[in-house]
Symmetry: C2
Subunit: 310 residues, 2 copies
């Protein structure tokens, strides 16, 4: 089955206490596409400028990403400059040059309109709805958003949410969106607006799923060395949504597995700058790390010997 993703493709410049990467491949749709491509066919809709090099396109093609929806227009590609301190949970944006992304109007190619699964990466909620108007009855629509849209376009965002099955969002933004400190109550509020599935990303603390009245907690793997957290959330979404598209089952049992697949992809991605770790990643490594996540949370039931626990 195939996933349609609409979002940004960018050049990132990233500074961390451990190093700097300049003008590397980035953007939400890009991270999502590459992560999802390990599990399903991916159709990318985004925009780049004339400066976008063939080598990046070739990398995406090699990963099986269908680029017929990638518009190339006069001008420069979106550029983002960000910095992380020792707290890798929060990026400080130093510079944003929207360039060709400023006038992005997603146009879904005819062949993409029957996509079974749609992922709306973090773009203007009005554009997210534009995409949904162009597709025909996807089985699952998932979307990301961020504080910028929550603060500036709350009504447009609410309209989008009413058309979305799954919202993927970080924890501070969950609280901000629902205007509610308790995540349990925030989930209830947001789900009443539309999304049956709420996925709360928590950076180095993992992610939470709330769906059909059940909660699931996905851990993050303690890592020896995190090089660059950029794109971790989009790789998480790409792994999770890509896995769901490969199964086309959206019950809680499959959602739980998808949360772990997403966590696996994010855990690899942060091990190197940009998408570099995913360039060499193999399915055997993914399966081995899935097993590592299983051991990470395994515990035995309490023995029911009378008197053992009083």
């Amino acid at each position: 089955m195939s996933v349609l993703v609409v979002g940004s493709v960018a050049f990132d410049t990233i500074r961390t206490p451990f190093g700097t990467a300049t003008g590397v491949l980035g953007g939400s749709a890009n991270y999502f596409s590459v992560a999802a491509s390990f599990f399903t066919d991916v159709r990318l809709v985004a925009v780049v400028g004339e400066d976008f090099p063939e080598e990046h396109l070739e990398f995406l093609r090699r990963r099986g990403v269908d680029l017929r929806g990638l518009q190339r227009v006069p001008g420069k590609t979106f550029r983002w400059v960000g910095e992380y301190g020792f707290d890798f949970n929060e990026a400080k944006t130093l510079d944003t040059q929207l360039n060709v992304f400023a006038d992005f109007a997603p146009k879904i190619p005819e062949d993409f309109r029957e996509s079974e699964v749609v992922f709306l990466a973090n773009i203007d909620p009005d554009l997210q709805r534009d995409v949904l108007r162009q597709v025909r009855r996807p089985a699952l629509v998932a979307a990301d958003t961020m504080n910028y849209w929550i603060a500036r376009k709350p009504d447009a965002l609410r309209q989008t949410l009413s058309m979305v099955d799954a919202l993927v969002i970080n924890d501070a933004e969950t609280r901000q969106l629902a205007n509610e400190q308790s995540l349990v109550r925030a989930a209830r509020t947001i789900q009443a607006w539309g999304p049956r599935i709420l996925i709360v990303k928590r950076g180095e603390y993992g992610a939470l799923l709330c769906a059909d009245g059940e909660w699931f907690s996905a851990p993050a793997l303690p890592l020896e060395s995190v090089q660059d957290p950029t794109g971790a959330g989009d790789c998480f979404a790409g792994g999770a949504v890509g896995y769901l598209a490969s199964r086309m089952q959206f019950d809680v049992a499959h959602l739980r597995q998808a949360m772990i697949v997403g966590s696996v992809m994010a855990s690899f991605n942060v091990e190197a700058f940009s998408l570099d770790r995913l360039r060499t990643l193999t399915m055997a490594e993914i399966e081995a790390r899935f097993a590592t996540f299983r051991r990470l949370v395994h515990f035995d039931d309490l023995a029911v010997r009378p008197g053992a626990v009083r």
Copy 2:
């Protein structure tokens, strides 16, 4: 089996966005004792002033806590005033009156010196070592500490750590203690100083265990309403160490269970101010919530049908 705990007993005044509690029962040793008392015999060594009321003593006695090590001296009991904003992971201390706690010199009653398990709550590391000099060959020594001692008494703390089997500490303090951003590397550094077992508390994000080269991630339960996070870490330690004392097995399988028992006790404690939730808690409720934690992290293995995941 029995646990000896040495730490503070206090009157707390707590302000949260949802309410205030004035002069309620608090203190690390107190929270620990009550939580541990659900699983094992508890021996409390602490100091209170002349103002400490009989009703609190009666509550502890009813929970089976042996109070022969509780010194009552002239003066006032330790008082702490703290405030939480919407971020319940961090308390702001508004006032601390050490009172009789300023001159606390733990004296372990003869009958307590054979205790199999010892928990050194967050007190001066010199006092923690004083306690260890007074006990005979405990099977497990666990200790807590905090940023105050890490900054002011690093050498004394290192000496204490060399005598400790398990360190229970929050995540910012783990990084501060090891002077290392990566928790994986920080764990390695700290374990080289003595503790075989490192337990990293992460507030609403749960807790991590590192022991014998394995990591275990315990989730926190998303709660409808958190009233008061005070004492959550000590209740976690009380549940975990109390459970271990009930089994007297300290292998990783039992440590994993202990992490969940601790998480269960912390999850109950935060549902009401002070220790109030634990006053009415039953073992049936503890077992039911243990099962809830199991469901919270449960996920199925990836099916191994060829082609299902490519």
